[in-house]
């Protein structure tokens, strides 16, 4: 049952082959059995889950259910969940029980879906390996000595190991796509503004976007309709109506114009990954697509621009964690300054502290123009690159990452090389565009991710293109051994 797609699970629930309670119990059992190895959950909400499953079963019994009623889902611990610990992977919020639900959580609840628990993540979503979590690193289910990617590492590992059929993630510079690639599953980061950020703890507000992990594009299409759409609580959410994504999944790819950015295929790219992407291109050609070399000349500038803008916003967003109203407070503060200093230095981990300091510096008087303003200019140029490219192609295709998952501890002492592993994903966030990562092969037993980048609000097209590939290949159906 746990290898079934969401459409199949839905079918089983609707035809009463299984109850939501049984299905939920099965996933809870699997979490108990396997998560000691993976550490993909921070909190398992067993009681909540079984109650929600019972409610879903009532809806299913009286014929009041929709297609996703009773389907379990794991939530990244960055989404506020009422009455449940919402830690954001940080000691700072280890004691924080949210008094409200994020809009994304509300919408899952309204759809009758069942939350299994809150997944592990890099602290405040800052990291590319899930090693920055206060709750310890997550292991890659394909090889427990390797990282699952980050920051949404817990969600990706949980879905890859079939501890949940789907999970949420957030993506500020690649935090959905990179772990999806490392864990061999499908992930989507929608267009900025497509999914409400209300209740999603902010890292870098102008880049953060909530999204999803599942085993296939088909599953993602069903799930995306739950969370996409305008939210009056988020001024930056888009008013454009979301189409029903499942209806266009099987559209023909004949005549599809695929762009391959030449900057993505240089010597830094792992050979096996390059070959896997070329093989995928062949599949698309067979489906009637045409292939075009394009250029995104400012790709290399996106990392420095990102590492000014994201820390700048984070330095301000994380100022609220001051030990005054909630979260970690140091013991017996001497005075106000002592309260701030100790609460914050005890509550935040190293990477978060580093980024707050970088961001504070970049916004300071005398440096603002040289850093923040310049980075914003580069950001516009990066977006312009994509804008130009989409004049001649319908989708941009390339690797999600330059190399497969790396070993735990391999890059922790070298933040710069860690930052560089996001080279292909970061520009997409700067431009606010939708991106996906889907499995496209293996190298030395580790999954390879292929990235698809769409035009703004082109999620339907992206899912259609990904689904077309998954109908021709079976990479997305592979399960790691031992799970």
């Amino acid at each position: 049952m746990f290898t079934k797609s969401i459409a199949e699970l839905s079918q089983a629930l609707q035809t009463k082959k299984i109850s939501s309670h049984e299905l939920t119990q099965m996933y809870l059992e699997r979490i108990k059995q396997f998560d000691k190895k993976l550490n993909s959950f921070i909190t398992v909400t067993e009681e909540h889950a079984l109650q929600a499953a019972k409610k879903a079963d009532v809806q299913l019994a009286i014929g009041n259910a929709n297609i996703l009623t009773g389907i379990p889902v794991a939530q990244k611990d960055i989404f506020c969940t009422q009455g449940v610990k919402t830690s954001c992977g940080s000691k700072m919020l280890d004691n924080f029980i949210s008094p409200y639900d994020a809009t994304v959580i509300k919408r899952f609840n309204a759809a009758g879906m069942v939350m299994l628990g809150k997944t592990n993540m890099d602290e405040f979503a800052m990291g590319s390996s899930n090693e920055n979590s206060y709750y310890g690193p997550v292991k890659n289910p394909w090889n427990l000595e390797y990282v699952p990617g980050g920051s949404s590492g817990g969600s990706a590992a949980a879905v890859a190991a079939n501890l949940a059929p789907a999970a949420t993630g957030t993506d500020t510079g690649g935090s959905i796509r990179q772990p999806a690639a490392f864990c061999g599953i499908s992930g989507i980061k929608p267009t900025y503004g497509r999914v409400s950020r209300y209740g999603m703890i902010a890292f870098a507000s102008s880049l953060d976007q909530g999204g999803l992990f599942a085993k296939s594009a088909e599953d993602l299409a069903l799930l995306l309709n739950v969370i996409a759409g305008f939210d009056e609580n988020d001024s930056t959410s888009a008013t454009i109506a979301a189409p029903y994504y499942a209806t266009t999944l099987n559209n023909s790819l004949k005549g599809l114009r695929i762009g391959l950015p030449k900057e993505f295929f240089n010597e830094a790219l792992d050979k096996d990954i390059a070959n896997a992407i070329q093989a995928a291109v062949k599949v698309y050609e067979k489906l009637g697509a045409t292939i075009h070399e394009i250029s995104l000349p400012r790709t290399s500038l996106s990392i420095p621009a990102y590492y000014v803008i994201a820390p700048a916003e984070c330095s301000s967003n994380l100022a609220r964690f001051d030990g005054v109203r909630y979260g970690h407070r140091c013991d017996a503060p001497k005075d106000l300054e002592d309260l701030y200093k100790r609460s914050r230095s005890e509550g935040f981990g190293k990477e978060v502290t580093r980024r707050i300091m970088i961001g504070t510096y970049a916004l300071s008087a005398g440096y603002f123009d040289a850093y923040y303003l310049k980075a914003q200019k580069i950001r516009r140029l990066v977006a312009q690159d994509f804008h130009e490219a989409f004049k001649s192609v319908d989708v941009i295709l390339g690797p999600t990452t330059p190399s497969p998952a790396f070993k735990l501890g391999e890059k922790t002492s070298d933040p710069l090389s860690m930052y560089l592993s996001d080279i292909y994903t970061i520009a997409v966030n700067l431009a606010g565009l939708p991106g996906m990562s889907i499995p496209a092969g293996f190298t030395a037993g580790l999954p390879i991710g292929m990235q698809l980048i769409g035009n703004a609000f082109g999620e339907a097209k992206l899912l259609n293109i990904a689904h077309g590939y998954q109908k021709e290949t079976d990479w997305h159906t592979k399960t790691p051994e031992g799970f």
């Binding site: 506020c80 919402t86 409200y100 102008s206 930056t236 301000s316 106000l336 916004l363």
Partner: protein, 480 residues
């Protein structure tokens, strides 16, 4: 050595919306601490601000009221600093692109001339909460009810040259925001707060002196005292060979002095940057025109009209338009008085205002209605009573002893206009004072007042003064 004072003012006007600028929580004053702060006001993780559309209309109103450019596109920015009553660690404000640009306000000076004070800008921002330092045994209490209350910060040019001008500007602005209905102007509750930038320079010097900023001076009286104290302090300092330091000062009204809050070196670097949670604020020409078409008559226009339509002096007009309620009261009273505008103005600005001040009352709570005051003026004008007797009637009206005519009747205050009765009384007085009559007739003209006084005393002040004068002159002359 002659010195010139230079003053610029920053006013924080709290906008009178029902809910906060970025959340749906109530803005009502005086609730139990922390009962009017929602997750957004408390800066909980994950919350986002959504702009209250009403504050935009209010900003447009102010912009139109001060003849300013209204920005078609303005931007909310974060002002970053740590303080316990600032929940997010930043205040959402406007920095480089404010909603209201350059404008001006004309103020009336004591000598009757008017002066134009430039306004640099006005921008929208959220208020912080309050820190409470008493009753917490060495700790501080935080009340976040006020956090997120909408403010318009209105920044003037350094155009004022004395504390008196500063007060005139503040009063004019205070009256304007109340006319516009965007701020209740309650200074005790902090709805209208003022910071003053003060510097001095030698007369003739064109460069500005180093300024100090006086924080949170929350009554017109304190503004004047604080500025005057600070001006004297700066002059004395320079004359002794010292230098003014750029710093922020707090005025202590109890000690009548200013003291340092923080120096320039200690000033925060606020690290302003555009708030990524809010879209730029876009205002269309249609929106501005819609607001303009619903604007009430503003104090300046009303002032002009009162002078033209009622023939009032600039001073009377200024007093009468100082609040919408006062102006409305006056106009209602004028109608009831049968059009006696000048006399009505004297009564509203004089007797009535004095009585209200004495009992610390607002004109809308006046025990004497506008219609009754107008009637009283009418009774003076139609010679039913004299101006002096009218003061007695006014007192009765104030004490709710009946309406004007009832009071006049009941107390027999009606003026005597029957000339035979007046003549009889005059004769009686002349007979009783033969020596004074003789003296008058031999040239002591000044004794005329004596006879008038006697007659008024005898009649209880009810004689028509003009008739009395005429008849008395006649009688005194005829006996010669």
């Amino acid at each position: 050595m002659e010195w010139e004072t230079v003053i610029g003012l920053e006013v924080h006007a709290q906008l009178s919306t029902n809910s906060k600028i970025f959340s749906g929580a109530s803005t009502a004053f005086g609730a139990e601490p922390n009962t009017q702060a929602c997750a957004i006001d408390l800066g909980f993780p994950g919350v986002l601000p959504v702009l209250n559309a009403e504050v935009v209309n209010m900003a447009i109103k102010l912009g139109l009221g001060i003849h300013a450019e209204i920005a078609k596109r303005s931007v909310f920015a974060r002002k970053n600093y740590f303080y316990p009553d600032l929940p997010k660690g930043y205040q959402i404000s406007q920095f480089e692109l404010p909603v209201v640009g350059k404008g001006y306000l004309d103020i009336l000076l004591e000598d009757g001339t008017s002066k134009r004070i430039g306004i640099t800008r006005a921008h929208l921002e959220e208020d912080a909460g309050k820190s409470l330092h008493e009753d917490f045994h060495g700790m501080s209490g935080i009340d976040l009810n006020r956090a997120g209350t909408p403010l318009l910060e209105i920044v003037s040019e350094p155009d004022m040259r004395s504390a008196k001008e500063a007060i005139a500007y503040l009063k004019t602005l205070h009256s304007l925001v109340r006319y516009l209905g965007i701020c209740d102007g309650n200074m005790q509750e902090g709805s209208f707060r003022c910071d003053a930038n003060v510097s001095v320079r030698r007369k003739g010097e064109t460069k500005l002196g180093t300024r100090t900023e006086l924080k949170n001076i929350n009554s017109f009286r304190f503004v004047e005292r604080a500025i005057n104290y600070e001006v004297e302090r700066q002059i004395a300092l320079i004359e002794e060979g010292g230098k003014v330091k750029q710093e922020t000062l707090l005025f202590d009204p109890a000690k009548n002095e200013t003291r340092t809050m923080r120096s320039k070196e200690e000033a925060n670097d606020y690290r302003y940057f555009p708030d990524p949670d809010l879209l730029p604020l876009l205002i269309t020409e249609e929106q501005i025109e819609k607001v303009r078409s619903h604007l009430p008559e503003l104090p300046q226009q009303k002032h002009q009209r009162f002078m033209e339509q009622y023939g009032l002096s600039a001073y009377d007009a200024t007093v009468l338009v100082s609040s919408q309620a006062m102006a409305d009261y006056f106009e209602t009273a004028v109608v009831a008085s049968g059009g006696q505008a000048k006399l009505t103005a004297n009564w509203v600005a004089g007797e009535l205002s004095a009585a209200l001040n004495k009992s610390d009352m607002d004109i809308i709570d006046s025990p004497v209605s506008a219609a009754e005051l107008g009637k009283l003026v009418l009774r003076i004008a139609d010679d039913t009573i004299s101006g002096k007797i009218a003061k007695t009637v006014f007192e009765c009206l104030w004490n709710k002893e009946g309406d004007v005519d009832q009071i006049i009747d009941k107390q027999g205050l009606k003026q005597v206009t029957d000339s035979s009765a007046i003549e009889a009384l005059i004769e009686k007085i002349l007979e009783a004072n033969p020596q004074q009559v003789a003296d008058y007739r031999s040239g002591k003209d000044k004794l005329f007042g004596f006879f008038v006084g006697q007659a008024m005393k005898e009649s209880g002040g009810k004689l028509n003064p003009k008739q009395l004068n005429d008849l008395l002159k006649e009688k005194l002359a005829s006996g010669a």
